[in-house]
Each structure stands twice: as structure tokens, then as C-alpha cells.
Amino acid sequence: MISVQNLVKAFPQKGGDVFYAVNDVSFTAGDGEIVCLLGVNGAGKTTTMRVLSTVFKPTSGTAEIQGWDIKTHPQQVRNNLGFLTGDTGLYNRLRVHEFIRYFGRLYSMQDDEITRSMNDMAELLDMEDFMDKKIEFLSTGMKQKVSIVRSIIHDPPVMIFDEPTSGLDILTARNIISFIRSCKERGKCVLFSTHIMREAERLADRIVMIHKGKILAEGSLDALREETSQLDLDDIFVYYVNRYAESVTEGAKVEAHEF
């Protein structure tokens, strides 16, 4: 379960300015639910996820992962979280099983526990042939499987996928998509980000649209269709972006009027 409350992440810029990458964002994602963070490049998706995974500290507001506050209990948050991105790098000089064991140990798991979990997943993802190989000799698809196992070795209740299919070929991307579905089936709470509308349509129970650090709209695909009277997610997204642009300029007008 993820709950985000009034999250703000600002980056100081050269010359004393401040850039608000995430600006007052709130949403939730429940167990057994797939929530999609949808937005164009630079909308604030990655920053939001980095804050949720304790890589970044929030400027204000907060979030809870499985009931643990990201600010006060970062260690517990990390232990309850699996994190996967599309362009994750791996340690090339390690063997696959060494790599997975390394992360298992960092999650304070016992060695026999790691071995059991690793063997189960190797069977599930059809990886048994290359568990002893060095990672540098693996294909992209094999590497992505290794990344998947790495992200769930500690069996976290919450999974975060940041643009999980970006840069992958169709077959590898399909592996990821089906893996995300299987997470849901096992009752995990899933948050994934994408800028590809089709992916959001196919996977998400609920969609959170984010633009310039702010949330434009939130709801199931059907609810969004109903609200906007548009059928296609592309059109729905454009509808909200335009409405946002109008509200910003109108807001400016009101402000100008007041002075």
C-alpha cells in the first residue's frame, strides 16, 4: 500500500532559483492494485518515484509505504519495496547468483532463505541455464530477468516500476508486462510510470496523470472516459493538459486583475 500526501520536491538551481519537479502531489495505491503514473518526459514521474524509494528526500509533504513513513523510517521503506527501472545497470563482473545474493544480503536476508527464493524464481522465469554465468555475457532479455529477480528477492509487498519497458525490445518488454500482472495477482501493490498510453490502457487499474509536477486527473480509465467524453487515452490526456494550460493562464489573469 502506497499513500502520498502533498508531496513536494524542489531542486535549487544556479543563481538561487528553485525548480519544482513535484509540486503538491497526493494519491494512493492499494494492495492488489496497479496504478499508473502517466505523463510526458519531464513531468515529474521519476522524481516522484525516487522520493518514494528514499533516493531523494522530499522538500515537504510525505508518503508512506506499507505504513512506514519515507522520512522517518527509510530503512523499513526500502525493505518493503521492490524497485525496477528500464535502464537499470548490473554489475558485469559478478555471476548471476552472486549478484542476486549480494542484494539479498543487503536486505538482511539469511543465505538459505536467499538460495530458496532465488531457485524458485529461476525456475519461474526460466533462468536456470545462466545462473552461473557472468552478467557481462548475458543478452538484454536475460539481464532484464536478473533485474526482476533482484527487485523482488526480498518479496516486498510494494513494487515500483519506473518506465520499466523503455529501451527494451518487444519480447523483453512483454516479459516485464506479464511480470507486473503477476505481481498484482499475488496481491502486491504496484505503481508504474510510463509515457506510453497503450501500456497504461492495458495494465492500469487506475491512472494518475501528472504534468509539470502537478496531478491533472486521477481515476480508472472508464471514469476518465466518462468525465472527458473521450474514448482514447491519448485524447483524454490532451484534454486534461489543455484544461491545465487554460487554468494557469486564467489564474494569471485573475491575479493581474487583483492588483
Binding site: 535549487p12 538551481q13 524509494s53 526500502r78 525493505n79 537499470t88 548490473l90 542484494f103 544480503r105
Partner: protein, 672 residues
């Protein structure tokens, strides 16, 4: 810190590094091969030179324009040298010499002095740059000296004088240095240098890979979201660098040691007691540990700061250069270990090294060396951990920079663009160069007018020019604004009490690290200039009060505004202290610089720090002027030092005045 997690990170990094063939080669294999090859190669080349002379011999053309029994004896002695073939010099001797068919041309002449004594001149033509020719010359000279001796002996005997008179004075060496000390001096010259460079280069190979490499390969984010604290990651990686640096060092040291022993035994030197003292090696390795920790911390912070490995390698270069230069100090004759040297990193290890190798070191120096290194160590590690928590730096990749665009306010764009820390450092370095070359030239001509010209031409004028060229508002930029009356009233109290305190600190430093006499003499000249009081006051107090303030409290802080007021004050004070080009006054000037920076940045008016600076400088002048008066004796001891009890009222006054100053300037901070 979770030591279990640290060890997990450490073990993994070590395994990964040791699987890298390139790293393995650099750290383990290269040193094992390098020294034997170098030393054997050196031996081979050296013995080859003598071999060539032996094999080929040298043909020497002789031009004997004297032709007496004496010259015949000289030539006879030469012909006894077995490698030499003597031929009479013909007209083509020079062309034969040029084509290297003959190796030397010897011309014999004689001359008669006024009292009838005949002397002989032997001109030996040879090529200094050619080793073979040089060797030939040495052999010729030796042979001629043998002849000379026997000729003189004969002459003496003929005159009825005992030839033993030639050995009237016989200097014999009674060297008290034992063989270990001699060996130690030899090794102490170059070993520290090699070891420091080895340590650094070994650690360097690994460090760039550990964080910058992770950024480049996009594995860092994965590591950060794993169940481990950043501190544990930093320490784990840090230990990895230290370990590999030390391994590299040890391998190098043993390889050098074995190669040297091999070389010495080949040269037939007596090795009993003169070998590399094993005990010394272990002391040295122990002394290198703090340096290894320091280098590792610096390298790790460089690696963390860099976007990718290439950038990390670039940033590592200056560190290598500085370390090489500092390590080279141990080569310099006359530089010996003392309490001051023991505080300077790298130099202290190099000198300690020299001392240990000669079995002649003091525990206090060892202690100071380790202490100062550990202090720097802690600072560097703290900085790394800070960097590791700085999001902007951890995720500084090329893409991130472009995706996050800043929204700038249009009005002050040119001002913002000009005032960057980078430009600040450039300006500072240029001003320093100008001061160093032009300033010392001006002051060398005439101290008084030179000082004044330095202030105006080197310090003040460029500030105004830069502001004019970049079209920046002079008054606003330099904070040239009238202070409040309350502030001006408080400033003298702050200035006087601070001056007294800083003077006391200088005195305390002087008792621990006495200033060199010539330095004090130079400083004294400043106050004994032969000129009217008002002129000294102008040169020593007023001019620096205005010019130095406009540079260091006016212009410089503008460059570092993005760091916030506290860091800004510290940074500009550091530059201010460095600008005085005076290691003995660095600390006092730095402390004053911080105070002056605070006065200006807090109140928004540079006039406050100008007044304070002028008061500070004139107090020293004041004390010299009234040195004789009896009431001043109350505060000054017989050695012309301030009495230490003055610290108590000074601290009290400073605290109260600063507190009031802080209050009356409240709310004005950063209002621009």
C-alpha cells in the same frame, strides 16, 4: 553504521575489483615485473658501456709539439692503457674525429714562465655528451695524473727534497654513519616518493570505478534503493580503496626491496646490516596507513562528485600532481622534519620516512604526523558522506542536467551569469598572480609607495574595471551603503577586542611554532618605515581598509552567493587569508576575514568592515608608536607580547558587541 552491511558491500566490491584484469595487472603484476626489469635493464646498460670501451677500445690521435723526454713519458703512460691505440695526428685528424673513427685528439704544448720553469699543457678533445667519449677522457686523465706524480717525485728527488712532502696533508674519512644509516639516506631520498605515488596510483585505479563507474553503468540507483544505508555504502567502498591502495603499496615495496638487494649483491656490496631494514619497512607501512585513508577519502569524494569515470580521472590528475610535488620535497637537501612540517600532509610522511630510514626519528613527529593526517581524513570522509547525500551530485548525469531546466528571472540574468563560483576562482587566481609578480616588483622598488600602489592598482582598480566592463551597478554590488549609526558605534568595540584576541592567538602559535627570525625582521620593516605618522597610517590602515575590503567583502562574496551566507563568509575568508601569501599569518587573517565578512554580509554595508579593518591594522601601528610609554606596559610583557589576561575582557567585549550587532542588524540579512 551497520558493520555487517559494510562488510557485505566491502566483500562484493573487492571481489568485483579483483575480477577486473586491468586492475589486477596494474596493482599486482606490474610492480612485480617492473622493478626487476628496470634494475636488470639498468645494470645491463651500465655494464655495456664499459664493455664497449673494452671491446672496441679507443683510438687517440696525438699531436706532440713539444717532443721532449717528458712528453715522451706522458705518452708512454697513455700507451700503457690497454684499450687505447695511439696514432700520430695527421692533417685529417679533425675529420676523423667528426666521423668517429678516432675518439679523442690530444695536443701537447709547453710554456716557460718568467723564472724559467717549464710547464706542459695537455689539450684533450672529447665529447661530453657521449658516454663513451666521457669514459675515454676519464681514462686519459687518470693515466696523465700517474705520470705527473712520478715526474714530480723525480724532480723533488733531484732537488734533494723528500718526495713524501707531496702527501703533506692526508684527509681520511671517519664516517660515523653506520651502513644502515647510509643505506637509509639513499633509500630515504627516493623511496617515500615512489611509495606515495604508488599508493595514490593504486587507489586511483579503483576509486574512479567505485562511484563514478556506478553512475556511468546506472547501477547506483539500484544500490541506493536496496536495504542499505548510504553511510554503509560509503564506508564499504572506502575500505575497498584503502585495501587495494595498501596491497599495491606492499607489492611494490617488496618488489623494490628484492630487486635492490639483487642489484647490490650483483655489485658485490657488503650486505651485512645494510639490507633494507625490515623493521623500518613495517613502521613505514604503518605510517602509510593514515595516508592511504586520506588518499582514499579524497579519491572517493572525487569519484562521487564526477559524472562519469572519464571525468573522475580528469579530476584525479591535480591530486596526483600536488602529491608528486609535495613528495618531491623529501629530495630537497636541508629540509628536515620539525613540528611545522609534521602538519603538512604528504610532506610529513615523506620526511618521516626519511627519518625512519635513517633510524633517527622522534615520536612527537610521528604522533603529529598521524594526528594531522587523521584530522584531514575525518574531514575528507565527512565531505564524501555529505556528497553522497547530495541529490544534485549523486544524480549529476548528462541527461538529468538538461531535463531540469531552471526558470530564471529575466532582470538579473547577466549578473547571475557573471557571478558564479567558477568565475570567482578565476578572478582570485588572476588577482593573486598580479599581486605576486607586479606587487612584489612595486614593493621591491620602494616599500611605502609600493604598498600603496599595490592596494590601488592591483586590488582596487581591477574590481572597478570588472564591474564597469560587465556593466554591473558598482554601489549596489559592492554594498557601498551608509551603515546605521548603532552599527558604527559597535564596530570599534568589535574591532579592538577581535584584534587583541587574534594577536593573542598569533602569539600562542608563535610559541609553539616560532616564526623564523628573517620573517619577523621583514614584518618589522613595515612599522619602521621612515615617514610621517599620517603616511604610515594611510598606507597600513586606510588603504587596505578600503581596497582589500572592496575586493574581499565587496566583490568576492557575490561570486559565492549560491552557497548561502555562512559558507560564503568562510570561503571568502579562506581566499582572503590565502591572498596574504603568508603561511604564518594564515590562521589569524582567516579569523579576521570571517569577522569582516560577517560584518558586511550581516549588515549589508561594507563600511562596517572597512572601519573594522582599518582599526585592526592601525592598532599594530599604534603599539609601535607608543612602545615607550609607561601605561602601555600594563598590557605588554617585557618581550613585547600582549599579556594573556587580556583575553578575558576581549572575549567578553567581543561577545557582547557581536550580540548587539546581530540584534541591531536583525531582519536585514539577505535583503537585496
Amino acid at each position: 553504521m551497520n558493520s555487517k552491511k559494510v562488510m557485505i558491500v566491502y566483500r562484493k566490491e573487492l571481489m568485483e575489483v579483483l575480477r577486473d584484469k586491468r586492475t589486477l595487472f596494474m596493482i599486482l603484476l606490474l610492480p612485480v615485473i617492473l622493478y626487476p626489469v628496470l634494475i636488470i635493464g639498468f645494470n645491463a646498460v651500465a655494464s655495456r658501456q664499459t664493455g664497449v670501451l673494452k671491446e672496441q677500445g679507443a683510438t687517440i690521435a696525438i699531436q706532440d709539439s713539444v717532443n721532449t723526454p717528458v712528453s715522451a713519458r706522458l705518452l708512454d703512460e697513455l700507451s700503457k692503457v690497454e684499450q687505447f691505440t695511439l696514432i700520430p695526428a695527421a692533417g685529417n685528424a679533425q675529420s676523423l674525429y667528426k666521423s668517429k673513427d678516432i675518439q679523442s685528439i690530444i695536443t701537447l704544448r709547453d710554456s716557460v714562465s718568467t723564472d724559467g720553469l717549464i710547464t706542459y699543457q695537455v689539450y684533450v678533445q672529447y665529447d661530453e655528451t657521449n658516454d663513451l667519449s666521457g669514459l675515454t677522457f676519464t681514462k686519459i686523465r687518470d693515466a696523465l695524473m700517474v705520470s705527473e706524480k712520478s715526474l714530480i717525485e723525480e724532480e723533488l728527488q733531484l732537488s734533494g727534497i723528500n718526495p713524501e712532502i707531496m702527501n703533506l696533508i692526508d684527509v681520511r674519512k671517519l664516517n660515523t654513519a653506520d651502513s644502515q644509516k647510509t643505506m637509509g639516506k639513499m633509500l630515504g631520498m627516493f623511496l617515500p616518493y615512489i611509495m606515495i605515488i604508488m599508493l595514490l596510483s593504486g587507489a586511483q585505479v579503483v576509486a574512479a570505478d567505485l562511484v563514478a563507474g556506478e553512475k556511468e553503468r546506472k547501477t547506483l540507483e539500484t544500490l541506493l534503493v536496496a536495504g542499505v544505508d548510504r553511510l554503509d555504502i560509503v564506508i564499504g567502498k572506502y575500505l575497498t580503496i584503502i585495501t587495494l591502495g595498501m596491497i599495491n603499496l606492499i607489492v611494490n615495496l617488496f618488489s623494490i626491496s628484492f630487486s635492490l638487494q639483487y642489484m647490490l649483491s650483483q655489485a658485490g656490496m657488503d650486505l651485512s646490516g645494510a639490507g633494507m631494514p625490515i623493521k623500518a619497512i613495517f613502521i613505514l607501512l604503518a605510517a602509510m596507513v593514515p595516508l592511504a585513508t586520506l588518499f582514499s577519502a579524497i579519491l572517493l569524494s572525487i569519484s562521487t562528485f564526477s559524472r562519469n569515470m572519464k571525468e573522475a580521472r580528469t579530476y584525479e590528475q591535480p591530486l596526483l600532481m600536488v602529491s608528486m610535488i609535495l613528495a618531491m620535497i623529501s629530495f630537497m637537501p636541508g629540509i628536515e622534519m620539525n613540528n611545522l612540517m609534521a602538519l603538512i600532509p604528504i610532506i610529513n610522511i615523506a620526511l618521516l620516512f626519511k627519518a625512519v630510514m635513517m633510524n633517527d626519528y622522534q615520536l612527537s613527529h610521528l604522533f603529529l604526523t598521524i594526528l594531522s593526517t587523521v584530522v584531514l581524513d575525518v574531514i575528507a570522509i565527512w565531505a564524501t558522506i555529505k556528497l553522497f547525500s547530495t541529490e544534485g551530485i549523486l544524480f549529476r548525469s548528462d541527461e538529468d542536467g538538461s531535463s531540469i531546466k531552471s526558470i530564471k528571472k529575466g532582470d538579473s540574468k547577466s549578473k547571475r551569469a557573471f557571478f558564479s563560483p567558477y568565475n570567482g576562482m578565476i578572478y582570485f587566481v588572476l588577482a593573486l598572480l598580479l599581486l605576486f609578480y607586479l606587487g612584489s616588483y612595486l614593493q621591491g622598488r620602494d616599500l611605502g609607495s609600493g604598498l600603496l600602489l599595490t592596494q590601488i592598482l592591483i586590488i582596487l582598480l581591477p574590481v572597478l574595471l570588472v564591474l564597469k566592463i560587465f556593466k554591473l551597478p558598482i554601489k549596489e554590488t559592492l554594498r557601498l551603503k551608509a551603515p546605521k549609526l548603532k552599527e558604527v558605534v559597535l564596530v570599534p568595540f568589535i574591532a579592538i577586542s577581535a584584534t587583541v584576541l587574534v594577536a593573542l592567538i598569533s602569539q600562542a602559535i608563535n610559541t609553539i611554532y616560532p616564526f623564523p627570525a628573517e620573517y619577523l625582521e621583514k614584518l618589522g620593516k613595515l612599522f619602521e618605515m621612515d615617514m610621517p605618522m599620517w603616511r604610515s597610517f594611510l598606507i597600513i590602515a586606510v588603504a587596505p581598509g578600503i581596497c582589500e575590503e572592496l575586493l574581499f567583502r565587496g566583490l568576492m562574496p557575490r561570486f559565492f552567493e549560491k552557497y548561502g551566507i555562512k559558507v560564503n563568509i568562510v570561503l571568502t575568508a579562506l581566499l582572503f587569508a590565502a591572498f596574504h601569501l603568508d603561511p604564518f599569518r594564515f590562521l589569524p587573517v582567516f579569523l579576521l576575514g570571517m569577522l569582516l565578512g560577517y560584518l558586511t554580509l550581516r549588515s549589508g554595508s561594507i563600511v562596517n568592515s572597512m572601519i573594522s579593518h582599518a582599526i585592526n591594522n592601525s592598532l599594530a601601528l599604534f603599539m609601535t608608536a607608543f612602545a615607550g610609554s609607561s601605561w602601555l606596559r600594563l598590557f605588554i610583557s617585557s618581550q613585547e607580547d600582549l599579556k594573556y589576561w587580556l583575553a578575558v575582557p576581549a572575549i567578553l567585549i567581543l561577545i557582547i558587541a557581536l550580540y548587539l550587532f546581530h540584534k541591531v542588524t536583525g531582519g536585514k540579512e539577505c535583503v537585496e
